[in-house]
Amino acid sequence: MEVLKLDLFQESACYKKPFAFKVGETYPLPPYSTVKGMLHKILKAKEFIPMSISIQGDYDSKFVDYQSMYFYKDKDITKMPLDMHLLHNVKLIIHVKAERQILDGIVGGITGLDEYLSLGRREDLVRINEVKFVGLKKYNPFDEGKNYFIKYPIYIPVDKTDEELTGINYRLNWKYKIVEGLRQWEKINVIYVEKGEELSDESEIVIDDDTKDLVCFNL
């Protein structure tokens, strides 16, 4: 089965963590909900469209921007300066698995965009380097005679592996239901694994047939 592979670039981005009120902390990669949101926007979706996403990528460095931030205080709006953590020169590889017509819809949407795309905050613009369909295959270290080392930092869902992986655990938002006027999020536990980490044969290693990038879908 073919999946869609997006190669994206952002000069700067902040994927702000929920409840990061005192400092605008960012995730090292956009969380699932953010990527899903962008794809839904491309699809002009009105409701959740079933899909799975794999997110990996890297950035050059982090920097801090001191900005005004607007808050609600009771019913008034007030503002306060805040440190925003920003990633610089972000390269992202997103794999999307869904029914073919949905994937086609994404490709169509991208070619016919009526507004610029952003990922993270509204001002975090995205440049789309490439969109294409790729095939997937299993990687067997024994057949290859080589271990698999992770090329780009990646989110690996915890329930997709029993391996002892070194990384940072996150609970990422995925999708929500509205309950009594509030968004109630479905969360996914992932490990953010740095590049250079080795994968053993205990987890199934899936790569694309394009540039042999690892693919780890959230669902």
Partner: protein
């Protein structure tokens, strides 16, 4: 040839073969106790593959370089694409064809880690480099490995194990295969170390100490009660409270019977004495025992000069059927230092005897208790023998060891041996009393500090009027102290001799001596009862007046050597027994009262004990190395010093030692070198480090590594013709035992 060792030169095949031989010995010897089949299977695999990583070119080259350097050979190094030398133990797991065996994933991890950590290294395995070495080099050497070792290896090897051997994933006590891991890794250590030393991993397996002991005991009409009890409960953990002189030692040997055993005592001197007794032909005559403590080689040299090196080496390798040792030699494992699995795994198929548990300070006792629990957890057996057992220790064991696993026995004599008189004055002021009795009797004076001992000695010596006064404390250099210890024994054994020995608690447990009167400063009850044991040791009390005088005023060493709370509480309890004949039962009662949780509530002593238990139970494994664990256990803040005068006498020898070139291929050269060291050691005395440092009375002997652990003590040393006061460091002495 694939090299495994350079000195002597040994191939990988030869070395692994030795381990396999030892594996068979171990399995034949103790397979009936360690019955887990998986364990033996894994251990065999671990043995076969443990050193395969040595085939790596850089390892081979480092051995070749050693051979060339020390053997004057000229072997060509192997071409290599690599410059870095990765520890071979991190490479060995690459050759495991684990898929063929179908082990559970967690069991695989046991195997990987046992092999990867059969040498403990501080450095983390580097997945990238390991993968590269395997991909570029090791995969081309599969055939060589197979030819050398006759083992299965897959046609293709890949390092998929490096995450599993990372430090943070090391198998710890909550892992379901923790015990299995301890056994596989610990026994691999044993096999490896024994084989490297060209020794058998287990010796004299069929020599049953129980049989020897029974034979010896035939000299007596019947087995004592405690002996029968121990014999009948061979397969249980025992806690035996018995009076001195009830035949506890023999009981322990009967309990060990046909099993491998470790017999621990607090003091080296008493271990030496016990070792001699057990091995001597005209006593129990068990010639297969080992002796293991920090200076055991010296004692072996004296008593068994021919075989001393061998016995020492075999004891160190834990190969002896029965080993007499100090607790620091085998009870470091509760600290889970790097490599602790070795002694822990050995204890899994052994029996351990803890004699005189009351003599350890609360921290060490806590370590022992946690150790006993761990031993029980992994299948080993223990026996605690003591004259008195503090209830707080018993409470802990009851809490952590299943009730059914422990059997208690209490064996007290009805013999009354002492009547004490409490004197509310200082011992110094009672010189006349002491002298009067010293004229026609053997009188023992025990005080709490060295300075007090010297004070009392001088006081008596100035007014002696013909009474013989002797002095013994810890501040003599080793050989003089050994001489004095011999003298006090001879004195005690000689019926015609009368006089006075002034000593410190040094004699409490170490020496088997019997005096007629005891004059002592009050010490905590357990120590006090030990002191009582040196007077009317085996005799029924038969005097019109007390035979023990206890001084309670201006007592030294309270708050420094002895815990103040314990001392105060001891005094209070003892006061009820003034001028009463003391029964064994009374002693137990007093100890039970003193060391009960209620009585100690809020005391520093109890806090220390509880904190230590808590610390050891929750210790992070692999944070300490072996020496650090040793220091914790011995609680030593001592330095070894040589008094200036002695130093000048042996300066030549010290210089010779400092610059001595050892020829590692010449056994005589090594022996000579060791002898030099021992001669120097015999001129040392050990003093508390903080005292030495604070008063700035020591200066290092050597800038270089050799002898850097010794210092010169810039103080007078008084000892001539078998008599003297020892080291005289004035004020400093007040806090030394």
């Amino acid at each position: 040839m694939i090299y495994a060792k350079s000195n002597p030169i040994e191939s990988l095949g030869e070395h692994t073969g030795k381990l396999l031989d030892n594996y068979e010995i171990l399995k034949d010897s103790y397979g009936h106790i360690l019955m887990d089949k998986i364990m033996w299977k894994l251990l065999k695999i671990a043995v076969e593959y443990h050193d395969t990583g040595k085939i790596y070119s850089q390892f081979q080259n480092s051995i070749i370089r050693n051979i060339n350097r020390y053997r004057g050979k000229n072997i060509k190094e192997i071409d290599s694409d690599f410059e870095i030398n990765i520890p071979h133990n991190y490479l060995s797991p690459a050759f495991l064809p684990y898929k063929n065996w179908g082990f559970d994933k967690k069991i695989c991890k046991v195997l990987y880690q046992a092999i990867a950590y059969h040498h403990e290294r501080k450095e983390e395995p580097d997945s990238k480099i390991i993968a590269e070495i395997i991909e570029k080099e090791l995969c081309n050497k599969i055939k060589d490995i197979k030819n050398e070792l006759d083992i299965e290896v897959d046609d293709r090897v890949v390092s998929l194990y490096t995450n599993k051997i990372k430090r943070k994933y090391r198998i710890k006590k909550d892992d379901e295969y923790y015990n299995l891991f301890v056994l596989v890794k610990g026994l691999l250590h044993r096999l490896d170390h024994s084989s490297s030393a060209h020794e058998k991993v287990e010796l004299a397996v069929d020599k049953n100490v129980g049989t020897f002991t029974s034979k010896y005991l035939k000299r007596f009409p019947v087995l004592r009660e405690v002996q029968k009890f121990s014999k009948d409960n061979k397969d249980r953990n025992l806690i035996v409270v018995a009076s001195t002189g009830m035949g506890k030692t023999e009981s322990a040997l009967l309990w060990i019977d046909e099993d491998k055993g470790f017999f621990t005592l607090p003091l080296r001197v008493s271990i030496n004495a016990l070792y001699d007794r057990i091995t001597k032909e005209d006593e129990i005559g068990y010639g297969f025992a080992g002796l293991l403590h920090s200076t055991s080689i010296n004692h072996l040299e004296d008593s068994k000069c021919e075989e001393s090196e061998m016995i020492y080496e075999q004891s160190r390798l834990l190969s002896k059927k029965l080993t007499f040792c100090t607790i620091d030699q085998i009870f470091k494992f509760p600290f889970k230092y790097l490599g602790y699995e070795k002694s822990y795994a050995t204890l899994a198929y052994s029996k351990v005897v803890i004699d005189e548990i009351q003599a350890y300070d609360p921290k060490i006792a806590a370590t022992l208790l946690v150790g006993l629990k761990m031993i029980n957890d992994i299948g080993g057996k223990f026996m605690i023998m003591t004259a008195t057992l503090p209830p707080i220790y018993e409470d802990y064991l009851k809490k952590v060891v299943d009730e059914k696993e422990i059997v208690y026995g209490k064996f007290l004599t009805d013999t009354v041996r002492h009547k004490i008189k409490i004197k509310e004055k200082t011992i110094i002021d009672d010189a006349d009393e002491i002298l009067t009795r010293g004229r026609n009797r053997k009188v023992l004076v025990i005080v709490n500090t060295v300075s007090r001992a010297i004070e009392v000695f001088e006081q008596l010596d100035n007014n002696k009027h013909g009474v013989k006064i002797n002095l013994l404390h810890s501040m003599f250099i080793k050989k003089d102290r050994a001489y004095l210890e011999r003298k006090i024994k001879e004195f005690a054994d000689d019926e015609g001799e009368n006089g006075i020995w002034v000593t410190t608690q040094l004699v409490e447990a170490s020496l088997d001596i019997d005096f007629d009167y005891l004059f002592t400063e009050l010490s905590p009850l357990d120590s006090f009862f030990q002191r009582l044991g040196r007077c009317y040791r085996k005799r029924q009390f038969n005097l019109d007046e007390p035979n023990v005088f206890v001084y309670t005023e201006e007592v030294k060493g309270i708050g420094s050597i002895y815990d103040k709370d314990i001392w105060d509480k001891s005094k209070k309890i003892l006061q009820n027994y003034d001028l009463r004949e003391l029964k064994e039962e009374d002693k137990i009662k007093m100890i039970n009262k003193l060391y009960s949780r209620e009585n100690l509530d809020g005391s520093e002593y109890l806090e220390k004990f509880d904190n230590a238990l808590n610390y050891i139970e929750n210790i992070n494994p692999y944070e300490l190395n072996k020496n650090e664990a040793q220091d914790l256990l011995r609680n030593i803040d001592n330095v070894n010093v040589i008094p200036r005068r002695i130093y000048e006498n042996i300066e030549k020898k010290i210089d010779e030692y400092k610059s001595y070139q050892i020829d590692k291929n010449d056994a005589d050269s090594i022996k000579y070198f060791k002898k030099l060291r021992r001669d120097i050691d015999n001129c040392t005395v050990s003093i508390p480090y903080y005292v030495a440092k604070k008063s700035d009375v020591i200066s290092p002997i050597s800038e270089r590594k050799r002898l850097s652990d010794l210092y010169i003590l810039e103080r007078k040393y008084d000892f001539k013709d078998g008599k003297g006061k020892g080291v005289l460091i004035g004020e400093m002495l007040s806090n030394i035992l």
